[in-house]
């Protein structure tokens, strides 16, 4: 049976992991390759690298990092952040990224999704969507959630699917950072509307949250950062718990 996926997310700036990574037994927690290998050994199913470099030079450094990750890590990984053209995607895939993720650029130019999936195949195009509830409506936000749009989340994910994306990475900004659980009502509604895999993101605080997002939110995968980086949730333990709750998971 196809299993649910557990995905640690690493924020990358100028080729280094940032935003607090606190593994006691890692000598250099800032090195993405070391960290990626550690997560792969622990049983992570996939990894996401989010490039938050502000400069072109920083992005080039990230490309070199992607090459090193591909060289040493034997599980699939996605790279997102600042991708806005065919040539950006080409460069990252050539460095060995398995999938790329686009976000703001897709909202600004939806035809980019079509172009990328035609050229590289749906399987490697993830569309990341950040949204929060405004007056009881889920609205898409841009630029890491700082800019509101009037685009309805559920209309948008349907369009994203129609344009050929292979997967949705949905971050609820209402839940992100709260450690109060994933946006399962919105996720379950989304799962009824579209037929491509959905990664839940934002809100992971304990193991029950993962059980809930797979059972109630109907998510195909769950992404988290700090709970893994700070060792609050141990991936092997998490996977045992999920299995004990009859959730299909790779041990």
């Amino acid at each position: 049976m196809l299993t649910k996926r557990i995905i640690p997310c690493l924020d990358i700036k100028n080729g280094r992991t940032v935003k607090g990574v606190n593994f006691v037994d890692l000598i250099d927690a800032g090195d993405p390759v070391t960290l990626a290998k550690k997560y792969a050994d622990m049983g992570a199913d996939e990894l996401v690298f989010l490039d938050i470099s502000a400069t072109l030079e920083g992005r080039k450094t990230t490309q070199n990092m992607v090459l090193k990750v591909a060289e040493q890590v034997n599980i699939p990984f996605t790279v997102g952040g600042g991708i806005s053209s065919i040539s950006d995607v080409e460069a990252l895939l050539k460095c060995g990224a398995d999938k790329i993720s686009i976000n703001s650029s897709a909202v600004k130019r939806p035809e980019l999704i079509t172009q990328l999936s035609n050229k590289f195949g749906s399987q490697c195009i993830t569309v990341a969507v950040d949204a929060k509830q405004v007056n009881n409506k889920w609205l898409v936000h841009l630029a890491g959630g700082t800019i509101a749009t009037d685009i309805n989340l559920f209309d948008w994910v349907k369009e994203v699917e129609q344009r050929g994306a292979g997967e949705i990475l949905f971050t609820s900004m209402d839940h992100d950072g709260t450690k109060n659980g994933f946006a399962n009502t919105a996720l379950a509604h989304m799962a009824n509307l579209i037929n491509i895999p959905i990664i839940a993101s934002g809100g992971a605080g304990n193991m029950q949250h993962f059980i809930d997002t797979f059972k109630i939110g109907k998510s195909d995968a769950a992404l988290a950062a700090s709970v893994f980086h700070f060792g609050e949730i141990d991936i092997p333990n998490l996977k045992q718990q999920l299995k004990a709750n009859n959730i299909a998971i790779r041990i």
Partner: protein, 196 residues
């Protein structure tokens, strides 16, 4: 491990870097080439592919590889779309394949999410490609089209029913999953291929 000149067919379709790195982790330097003479003189050949079937076939035809590949006598391993292109036909843009395997490739129905993306088990293993691999082992898969079970099936996976996740006919092997991305067990399959 046997002395191997390993060539990865480089025809511009897909993530060949990952395959090259996977062999490098096994201590084998693979040659990337679309040169017919280089391919013909290899000991082992990897036929990769990621992306869309009809444009990949066009690329093969452009370099004459569509004639050469079915004639190869040494072990050939098609991976993902590479496996599908070794088959007779695929529903993906109604594309004629290389015909090594007399098998049709179909699209998953909408009863399941398409693409299948993630880790699923391989079962009913019937080839020395899987030496040391136990049934129910998880492999990484990303695909929207699949091979129905057939006479050449050497591994099965369940998604929208049971389908063939690996094929073999004589020197031709095909795997739908990505051994290069499937952790240590994936690496063992690549090692087994080198030892054929």
């Amino acid at each position: 491990m046997k002395n191997n000149k390993l060539v990865i067919i480089d025809y511009g379709a897909g993530n060949i870097k990952s395959i090259q790195f996977a062999f490098k982790r096994l201590g084998v330097d693979a040659i990337l080439s679309n040169n017919i003479d280089v391919i013909k003189t290899a000991d082992k050949i990897i036929f990769p592919g990621v992306g869309e079937a009809s444009s990949a076939m066009k690329k093969l035809k452009k370099s004459g590889l569509h004639i050469i590949i079915p004639q190869l006598k040494q072990p050939v391993l098609g991976i993902c779309l590479g496996m599908q292109l070794l088959c007779k036909h695929t529903e993906e843009n109604d594309t004629k394949g290389l015909g090594v395997f007399n098998v049709n490739i179909k699209r998953f129905s909408n009863r399941v999410k398409v693409p299948q993306m993630g880790w699923n088990t391989i079962n009913n293993l019937k080839s020395n490609l899987f030496n040391g691999i136990t049934p129910e082992t998880y492999m990484y898969l990303v695909h929207s089209y699949y091979a129905e079970t057939n006479d050449y099936t050497i591994a099965e996976t369940s998604y929208d029913g049971v389908y063939a996740s690996a094929l073999q006919k004589n020197n031709f092997y095909g795997v739908q999953f990505h051994p290069e991305k499937s952790g240590d067990v994936g690496a063992l399959i690549l090692k087994n291929f080198l030892n054929l």
